[in-house]
């Protein structure tokens, strides 16, 4: 007996070094491990680097292609006189063959040469390389003046590209990091480390840690990208697009944050339902579909006011559709707030359901766990 008390005292002494892990400190530890593990992968930096490159490409490339003043080669006095009224870079050459050569070599966008057939009222012909040099032609043409009754704040192309860009960012992050969450869950199941984890910390802490860890990782990236976007656009001199995009980001970022967490909880469940990486495809297909909705929905219907209105309230597509609508001036002031409230409620419900499904399926190995079984298995 005395031996036993001494031994127990001994073990209790070692126990003084322990403070115990509370739910939140366990959650924090899990989140920390997940982010550390992920940040160390090459794929993470590659992916992030591609986004940075894409943003600068979007800011700068319009100046490189298409934009800027066209250059033309002019042959003969008539041509020179005609192009003189434009702001084109004009290169004077002596004969049409030489002008054609310049067009072929890409040194000039088009050539204006004397019209030998006599069919041109202007007395000149325009020579392009592989398609109609429209900007040159329109500069040389006469067009009636146009009045637009309801001018759009930004032009159609920029609107589409911005909507497409937001959808793309949401899609890429949701799929890329959602898949990472699911994989991380499956890895723990597959290696059976989950058994130790479950015996050590609450299951809810495991789930919360994963969602929080990956979410923070994604938000940090989105924040950096959101800061780089104005820099890239300013560098490209696209001030008009810049003001539009900064407004878009104002709504996009909070919607994105909530939308991502909503999907993250679902990705985690999708991972918990299977026991091997190879089976992830089947269990993630539903979540994948939910990510596809905003992506293709917005891209295909960005011009359809009714569909966009519906999409802007559906929690899965709201993060993209609502910011786009707000910017088009289609949404009333209160609309984004209502959409966000719906999103928050869905998010809360989803996390609660996900916690139960995750607990119910985490320790089930073998074939894919049916949702109903996961639901009833949760203790």
């Amino acid at each position: 007996m005395t031996m036993d008390t001494a031994r127990q005292a001994g073990t209790e002494r070692t126990g003084t070094e322990h403070t115990g892990t509370s739910f939140w400190s366990a959650t924090r530890l899990v989140a920390e491990r997940e982010t550390n593990a992920h940040v160390r992968t090459k794929g993470f930096w590659l992916n992030f680097g591609l986004f940075v490159v894409a943003i600068f490409a979007a800011g700068l490339l319009p100046n490189v292609f298409g934009g800027g003043t066209p250059s033309v080669a002019a042959v003969g006095p008539e041509a020179e006189q005609i192009v003189a009224v434009t702001d084109f870079d004009v290169q004077q050459v002596s004969d049409p063959e030489e002008a054609e050569e310049l067009v072929r070599s890409g040194e000039v966008d088009a050539a204006v040469v004397p019209d030998s057939s006599g069919t041109s009222p202007l007395g000149v012909r325009v020579v392009g390389l592989d398609d109609n040099p429209d900007d040159v032609v329109s500069a040389l043409s006469v067009a009636p003046p146009v009045d637009v009754l309801e001018p759009s704040e930004v032009d159609e192309g920029v609107r589409f590209l911005s909507a497409f860009g937001l959808a793309m960012v949401f899609f890429m992050f949701s799929v890329g990091f959602g898949m990472a969450i699911a994989q991380s869950v499956v890895t723990e199941k597959q290696t059976r480390i989950v058994e130790i984890l479950v015996a050590t910390v609450p299951v809810r802490a495991l789930l919360a840690g994963k969602i929080i860890g990956y979410s923070l990782l994604v938000f940090a990236q989105v924040a950096v990208l959101a800061m780089l976007t104005p820099i890239a656009l300013r560098a490209g001199g696209q001030d008009e697009v810049l003001s539009w995009v900064s407004d878009a980001l104002g709504w996009f970022v909070p919607f994105f944050v909530l939308g991502f967490v909503l999907l993250a909880s679902m990705w985690a469940v999708a991972g918990a339902l299977v026991s091997r990486q190879e089976d992830l495809g089947s269990s993630t297909s539903l979540v994948m579909a939910l990510v596809m909705v905003p992506y293709f929905g917005v891209i295909m219907f960005y011009d359809n006011e009714l569909v966009m209105k519906i999409l802007s309230y559906v929690p899965f597509s709201a993060p993209v559709a609502m910011p786009v609508r707000t910017l088009d001036g289609e949404a009333q002031m209160w609309e984004p707030f209502v959409a966000m409230a719906i999103l928050v409620l869905t998010l809360l419900a989803s996390v609660a359901i996900a916690t139960r499904l995750y607990s119910g399926s985490l320790l089930q190995t073998g074939s894919r766990v049916k949702l109903g079984r996961a639901w009833t298995r949760a203790d």
């Binding site: 031996m3 036993d4 001494a6 031994r7 127990q8 001994g10 073990t11 070692t14 126990g15 070094e17 322990h18 403070t19 115990g20 892990t21 366990a26 530890l29 899990v30 491990r33 593990a37 890895t187 723990e188 290696t191 059976r192 480390i193 989950v194 058994e195 130790i196 984890l197 479950v198 015996a199 050590t200 910390v201 609450p202 320790l363 203790d379």
Partner: protein
Amino acid sequence: MLQVSSVSRSFGDLRAVDDVSFDVAPGRMTGFVGANGSGKTTTMRIILGVLGADDGAVTWRGDEVTQKVRQRFGYMPEERGLYPKMKVAEQVVYMGRLHGLDRTVAQRNATELLEQLEVVERAEDPVEQLSLGNQQRVQIAAALVHDPDLLILDEPFSGLDPLAIEIVLGVLRDRAARGVPVLFSSHQLEVVERLCDDLVIIAAGAVAASGSRDALRAQFGPSRFQLVVDEDAGWIRDLPGVRLVELDGPRAVFDLDDEADDGAALAGTVVRSGQGERDQAVLQAALQRGPVRGFGPVVPSLSEIFKEVV
């Protein structure tokens, strides 16, 4: 002291664990032995709260096992689990911190354990680059890093070479010596035999026998002896109450029946009662025939006990 009291658990129609009760005492290494599918792993998972019991209770120092208490247990599941891409030391430290250690203590304990287990030179390598045997050592370090109050180890020796078994054994004995109750399962009976103080034998989900190793030996081992003489020992089979098990010229292994014929004359000596005297009677008989080179009881091995109770 860990007490498992009348724990039962069914999976569908299969009663995997049926009214299982046993204790794991402080400072004792308790071997948990049973055939595949006999319920060892299920019982261990119930102790760790990974599985719920349909019936019965597990108590630690007289109280219910809560999450907080369980966090002070060390567990090594049968199916090993480590993060393949995480570095060895980092992994062990992480486990320590999950169990509530602060970073410095976790680091100190991890280094100590990896040294003791002789894998410290691999501390900075990802786990997936280690051999299976070394991964197993890391697994043990992960189970021990937080100086657990109780150790539950499912097949801690499977997959280890003899040298590694000795190393791991040393570490576990060290823990037991500090007063930690250790419950470990194994189907390597000779290892369990050498290692355990107490034994729980489980068959088809129920405890077939339990108690200290020596008590079990006395209880279940047949009273078996070995006699070595100069000449052929075949005559021994004619003695009453003796059942010859093995005869190899001058060497004979025999059992003494519990119910020997009372009053049977044995070469002039009367065997009355008790094995203790009857074995002496056999010795006397042998001595009368010539020199005896060896005589003594044959201690039953665990596998023999196991065969008997299962």
